[in-house]
Symmetry: C2
Subunit: 367 residues, 2 copies
């Protein structure tokens, strides 16, 4: 069994390989030769961090390549008030101030575990790949300028991913802290041929933009409705970055998944002697209250899914004047199966990672 | 992170530790300080074995001890006709003719993965522990003779488990193959003080029995309704071993879980070019058709759950004349959390297993 690190995966995984693998997986899923088990969360009090523990799992299987992937997150979460807003943060509570997110791959040929690796790099590559696949169907073919909001982990994958599907000449980067956007722009300039330009105000970022991509942690609106112009394509990593009013201005909307919220299994709060506090009150109100926008049936759930767009069951952009939008509303295991399979095959080709005995994970008894 | 083998676990895990841990977990679950995500199965064609691939997962979390367990099975399955019966078998398709079943444990204190080990020993210990916990509430206190059907993996854990909760003097073992039951009885005689006696006919096994325990792979009835006498306690590892008619003769019935069938996610069969065959036809009919007894809403689903019995919310045996029964109808992740935590704490105390660097499974990036 192969053990890989984020650094190894980052060194060899190309965004175009991710896009290709994921596009194929969406088509398979649409025609019934791939399957996805939607995310479920277990939520419990965490004894150590005065926070909340959440165990997230999702899994998916492909017929070709013959693989199943399970993605697991084991997180300590805190909510805090800042201004009028609720911010959700993961606490790096594991040794060395680290997080725990894992992808495990299994062979459907013989059942064996194939690999296990942290989810960080794959996680951002798959989100960016889904955005890029949607943009390939929805953005103007001659799109040349992109406004990018955010200069963090997701921004760093979205920029090359969007450059892979459209011939971008310029990317205007805005994030609230000048030093962050400047550093980000400098780093990114090494990776793409488009001119990457940090800008001081969001209005400046969107002025000539054909594409607006938001890649932030914000639970409140980043894109004002008045910035939306004919012909634009919008894409986000969280629905609240756009917000209802902006989304309603769009002519053609596609979402990632009709299953828009994970199923929650919550224990250990409330009437059993464990004192309630803010975070727990939020939990008790359910996920709909946590993000402020995951209402029971948001209007945009009526939009088609990305897999239908990729499979050609619903049309992409119909004219150069249309305004289009893709909502990356909830991640799915299928992304980890597709990108995970690409990681595995490239790692094997290169001999990357640590091999540990597969036999440790096998058994002679009929379980 | 600790890696353990079935052999190591078997060497130190006592049935009484399992029973204690599991009894506490049922009480916690009942009062809301433990949580369980029911089993889901992904089903896909397997390219290699002309069989079917099934990926099974379930998970559960406890507040005390602060642990989450995930149990995974990655199986190649074949169905075959024998006589009029459909037999379901797992194919040991992994290297060295092995199976793949795993338990992973995580800390809710800091999120870290704690251990990973094959599920075989824990799997049989938890089934037997649940049966024993039910027997402690339901069997006559003076029960002294048990009829045990089966001489395989589950039989080997049920015998000591039942001896741990009732002062049994004699166990009559029946299984169809004489050499199997003889060998089994001889082995078991080393482990318990009760007299373990192989018998040639099922009627002989049940003649003086206070408890009938079925621990077979049979998908058809093992216990005839006419064998049920006042005061008896019946227990099984699969509902079809008893069958509707026998179950209906019981005065007091308790089941393991009201969620009686896993949720299935099936892909890759039928209209997509992969040829259909027997196993696939069975799959297409759904799990209700596979076992022959998992009908949509079997009458026994109205019975209370084991956790309610353990918590004292429903009464146990009310008189020495009552006939009682426990149906181990579907396994749950909670069993792996409880028994897994007992395994982990004992392994740490003894310094058992391989340690591999936990850091391989951690990451610095916010996933």
């Amino acid at each position: 069994m192969l053990i890989l690190s984020n650094e190894e995966i980052e060194s060899f995984l190309s965004i175009s390989a991710c896009i290709d693998a994921l596009e194929k997986a969406y088509k398979s899923w649409d025609k019934g030769t791939a399957i996805n088990r939607p995310r479920t969360d277990l939520v419990l009090p965490s004894p150590n961090e005065s926070g909340v523990y959440a165990f997230k799992s999702m899994e998916a299987g492909l017929v070709d390549p013959p693989i199943v992937a399970m993605r697991i997150n084991s997180d300590i979460i805190r909510w805090r008030q800042q201004g009028g807003r609720v911010l959700k943060t993961k606490v790096p509570a594991a040794s060395g101030d680290k997080y725990v997110g894992l992808v495990m791959l299994f062979s459907t040929e013989n059942g064996e575990p194939l690999a296990i690796f942290p989810d960080g790099v794959v996680q951002r590559m798959r989100v960016a790949s889904s955005s890029a696949i949607a943009a390939r169907c929805l953005a103007r073919e001659d799109a040349s300028t992109m406004a990018l909001f955010g200069s963090g982990w997701q921004a760093g994958s979205h920029l090359p991913a969007m450059c892979a599907v459209r011939n971008l000449k310029r990317v205007n980067v805005f994030s609230p802290t000048k030093s962050n956007r400047d550093t980000f722009a400098k780093e990114m300039q090494q990776k793409v041929t488009a001119e990457v330009r940090p800008v001081d105000r969001p209005e400046e970022a969107v002025r000539d933009a054909d594409i607006i991509a938001t890649t932030t942690n914000s639970l409140t609106r980043v894109v004002s409705p008045e910035w939306v112009r004919p012909g634009m394509h919008l894409t986000c990593v969280r629905v609240p970055e756009l917000g209802d009013e902006t989304i309603r201005k769009v002519d053609r909307l596609v979402i990632h998944s009709h299953k828009h919220a994970p199923e929650n299994y919550v224990a250990g709060f409330g009437d059993d002697g464990i004192p309630a506090h803010d975070a727990i009150d939020i939990i008790k109100k359910g996920p709909g209250q946590v993000s402020g926008s995951l209402v029971e049936h948001p209007f945009w759930l009526a939009a088609p899914e990305l897999r239908e767009l990729v499979a050609g069951k619903v049309p992409g952009r119909a004219s150069s004047e249309e305004t289009t939008c893709f909502l990356n509303n909830l991640g799915i295991g299928l992304q980890f199966a597709a990108v995970g399979a690409a990681v595995y095959s490239e790692a094997k080709r290169r001999g990357a990672g640590h091999e540990i005995p597969t036999d440790w994970f096998l058994e002679t008894v009929h379980p």
